[in-house]
């Protein structure tokens, strides 16, 4: 809508000035430019979202590879896919990976790629906790939090119709810029409101999958108990609200859901058995 408002102002200004012999302003060209900017932002469709996500995922895997444990990777994919099926985007090409890093973190990439780090998985105690974290990340994908942030940033970082070029030409320099920007975003984080929303969605998605809804709050309590100076936490704490604030927000808004589904399975034994393999 901002583009439209701008357009309206341009038209008004130009026609007013035209009466005073304002020369050589090609109003049609101006209209086209404004239209293109608006279009590029609106028109990232699902195939493009998935394509951008694969390129960003490849870069994150360049930062940290997968843990070399096929059993663990398949296990996390089963949990994640089961949860994703319970949502409004059940048929995205969902894929889940445990990154080989001691850092405590998790990442949601547009189009359905989710990563959790070995450092985070090591600190979990049950499948319900894993489900809570994966549910949070799935929530980011459902609401396209990162995609929107990439669009917004690309619009200011790439001039004019460069986003359109980046989407059309997957081998061009504009594309490279877009993906580099999209990857770098994970070092800066999302808006706080996106994170708190993803927490609420994560609780619901885990409950829908039949898990104890307290899995995510439980992980947040674990993080809260860790030394905030631990370097393994640095990026996660930089890019997310503090665990205490996230827990307060869940307590305030999600208590009924949490309590209604607190008796569902935690599957601590299956989790430990699978991680041990």
């Amino acid at each position: 809508m901002k583009a439209l408002a701008l357009l309206a102002m341009l038209v008004a200004a130009t026609s007013a000035q035209a009466q005073f012999r304002m020369p050589n302003i090609d109003i049609n060209k101006m209209v086209d430019t404004v239209k293109n900017v608006g279009k590029a932002v609106k028109d990232i469709d699902e195939p493009e979202e998935i394509a951008i996500g694969k390129d960003v995922a490849s870069r994150l895997l360049g930062a940290a590879p997968l843990v070399a444990n096929p059993g663990l990777q398949r296990y996390v994919n089963n949990v994640g896919r089961w949860l994703a099926v319970q949502t409004e985007r059940p048929d995205l090409p969902w894929q889940f990976g445990v990154l080989d890093s001691p850092n405590v973190n998790a990442f949601a990439v547009p189009g359905g790629t989710i990563f959790v780090t070995r450092g985070l998985v090591e600190r979990m105690r049950s499948e319900a906790e894993l489900a809570g974290v994966l549910g949070h990340e799935i929530g980011h994908v459902l609401r396209k939090h990162h995609l929107k942030a990439i669009q917004k940033g690309a619009q200011s970082a790439l001039a004019g119709d460069a986003l359109g070029h980046a989407l059309r030409d997957r081998a061009g320099p504009a594309r490279d810029k877009l993906i580099a920007f999209g990857t770098e975003m994970y070092s800066r984080g999302l808006d706080k409101s996106d994170e708190l929303e993803a927490d609420r969605l994560g609780v619901v998605i885990a409950a829908r999958g039949g898990y104890d809804a307290y899995g995510l709050p439980s992980v947040l309590q674990t993080l809260q108990a860790m030394n905030a100076q631990d370097s393994a936490l640095a990026l996660m704490f930089k890019t997310h609200p503090a665990p205490a604030e996230r827990l307060d927000s869940l307590s305030e808004k999600m208590q009924p859901v949490l309590d209604a589904y607190s008796g569902q399975p935690q599957l601590a034994e299956r989790f430990v058995r699978q991680i041990r393999k």
Binding site: A64, V204, G209, A225, A244, P265
Partner: protein
Amino acid sequence: MRILSLLLLVPLLAAAEPATVIRPAELKQEPASDAATLATLPENTAVDALERKGGWTRVKAGAGEGWVRMLSLRLGGAATAKPGASGLTQAFNVARTGTSGTQTTTGVRGLDADQIANAQPNPAELAKLEKFAANRDAAASFATEGKLSATSVAYPK
């Protein structure tokens, strides 16, 4: 992965973890709101957290042992980390480097902010990632094995 599993058992079996009551909380005999109330713990009471069941955490307090609402607690003592948490993790990493030898690129690759910002594509790992993906049917059987049943839960407004 054996060291990893040992680590996992620590929080499951550890006797106690320091915690603080962050809002006045009823100490219940059982993990249920209609269970008998043993005492009311005021804000800032120091307790030991023993285990969690649903939304309840079993604690040992001066007033006795019982269950309080999990979200009434902040884990971790006053400004202290969980004892040994990062130390154990470090031991794990050292052990891992020693046995696998795959950590030689530490310092180049990694998930710190600047390492992410400068990451280069890794198509080989991306191909592996795709290979591990689960389809809907496999995920459904996996859920059945775990006795998980899907439930309809609305998103909050």
